[in-house]
């Protein structure tokens, strides 16, 4: 596969994932029904608890909770496994593998001249479990919350409104620019016969990057002037208003209880 089709595939994949998360965010499920503020604070607290936990069973329990929440939110476990668990496992296991041998400690198993230490095995397991638990919980947040709701909920964490506005605009145009980049590569590929050598490939990639960059700057300026012309003063308004319902308070208590129990048990 040449570098162009590889890049096109990467872009298409990113766009497809964006579409899937928008769809799953609007599905009818447990987490989707929650107030985004409760969900954001609750899931972030769980992520932090998993990150701070020092015991393997606690991390595994938090991971199991993530799986249960995914099921209750009608997310496809197969998609999660493919997109999140396997990727995170492959990446983390690759990093953790040498730790089996490199961590000093009591040798429990010998392969040739190398010894797996008890400390090394536990350290590698902790790393993999921690990554799987935190990644699952944070993916739940992304997959069950429309982006605009997520941004608005970030305001409750005292994130400045300027940052929210920047994130909202970046997201709005990153999708558009990804589409543009994709179209540029596709059009190039459809006109291409034969193979490009390394130098030509590099030139193609770099020039496309350059065109995209100047397009981005141009668009940024135009959008800025258009906003200024319409009287934008840095305040962001959304049509949806968040309202806490009884169920949200229950969920809030639930998150708090799990966090406290996991934090105490994980010490």
């Amino acid at each position: 596969m040449n570098v162009i089709s590889k890049t096109v595939r990467g872009f298409s994949g990113a766009l497809a994932r964006t579409l899937i998360s928008e769809q799953s965010a609007h599905a009818k499920g447990l987490l989707q029904a929650l107030d985004p503020r409760v969900k954001l604070v609750g899931l972030l607290a769980l992520v932090t608890t998993a990150a701070l936990a020092r015991r393997l069973p606690v991390m595994m329990a938090l991971f199991a909770l993530g799986v249960a929440l995914a099921l209750a939110s009608r997310l496809s476990l197969w998609a999660l496994a493919k997109r999140v668990w396997l990727v995170a496992f492959a990446f983390t296991a690759m990093i953790a593998f040498p730790a089996l041998f490199l961590t000093p400690g009591i040798a429990v198993y010998r392969i040739g001249g190398l010894a797996i230490t008890a400390q090394g095995a536990r350290s590698a397991l902790l790393l993999v479990a921690r990554v799987e638990a935190t990644v699952t919980l944070s993916t739940l947040l992304v997959l069950t919350t429309p982006w605009m709701h997520l941004l608005k909920a970030l305001r409750t964490l005292m994130v400045p409104v300027e940052v929210i506005a920047l994130l909202a605009m970046t997201h709005r145009y990153v999708v558009l620019l990804t589409e543009t980049a994709n179209a540029m590569f596709e059009s190039r590929q459809s006109r291409m016969v034969g193979r490009l050598n390394g130098h030509e490939q590099r030139r193609l990639m770099v020039n496309t990057g350059g065109v995209l960059m100047s397009k981005t700057m141009e668009m940024g300026n135009e959008v800025f002037f258009a906003m200024q012309a319409r009287g934008f003063r840095g305040e962001v308004r959304l049509l949806t208003d968040f309202r806490m319902r009884a169920w949200d308070y229950v969920a809030m208590m639930g998150f708090a209880a799990v966090v406290v129990v996991a934090a105490v048990a994980g010490r």
Binding site: T134, L167, M205, T208, G210
Partner: protein
Amino acid sequence: MMFNLPLPGGTTGHAVGVGIAAIVLGPWASLLAISLALTIQALFFGDGGITTLGANCFNMAIAGSFAAWGIYRLVSLGSVAESKRRVVAAALAGYVAINVSALLAAIEFGIQPMLFHDATGVPLYAPYSLGVAIPAMMTGHLTIAGVAEAVMSAGLFSYLRRNEPALVGISARAPLERAPRRLWGALAVVLLLTPLGILASGAAWGEWAAKDFTSTAGRAQITAASGNAAAPVVAPSGLARLANLWTAPLPEYAPHFVKSAAFGYMLSAMFGVGLILAVVWVAGLWMKGAAESKR
């Protein structure tokens, strides 16, 4: 970061783009742009991490942007906008920036086993010491990722200079004459901080004198500072031979005509800085004269 860049030798690498961002936007806007990209990646594409966002932003957006900008400005100093040196500067900016970021990340990994481990010595987070983390991170970055970033920076720079000169011209026009004033400010701050040196106890590692090897206190200090490796019984012969080659006019930063040690220390600092400034000033006058006589 989805741009796969084919590299000489058949591998491909991604570029972060911090080099070109710092050159085109300047360090502050680049800091913001890269941070936003990392945040969107973590929150929206689920790539990267939420709890590691701060570290990522520090390594790539803050340190990377300023390293890239500094290197670009330094290497392209005094060059004309069309010169080849600017392309080299852009390449170096990308290369250095990504490696500074990688080194910071490696240090952050490497100190984790020291900070977070349980009673049996199991590392709770990243499992590798600095001695493993730094080579592991840097091998890939000094070769593949660094080259990808350098190629991307230099390529984008030449493309933009050819087709959008205004974009890369912004940094070319940056006011150079303001820099020395800031430099003086920074120097003044550093000077004001000299008394901090009095707080440090003992000699700096490796800055021992021959007599430290024979005194009990000196030996204890060397042993403590060297991971409990005992100091040699006699001073190394080279050190002993060269010790009396040169006697400093202000030994131990304490001129013998000043009674207070602290005042002597600061006086030595002022004298040292003054001496350096005088040498640089004379060298500057000489270089200016040489440049004028050439014309």
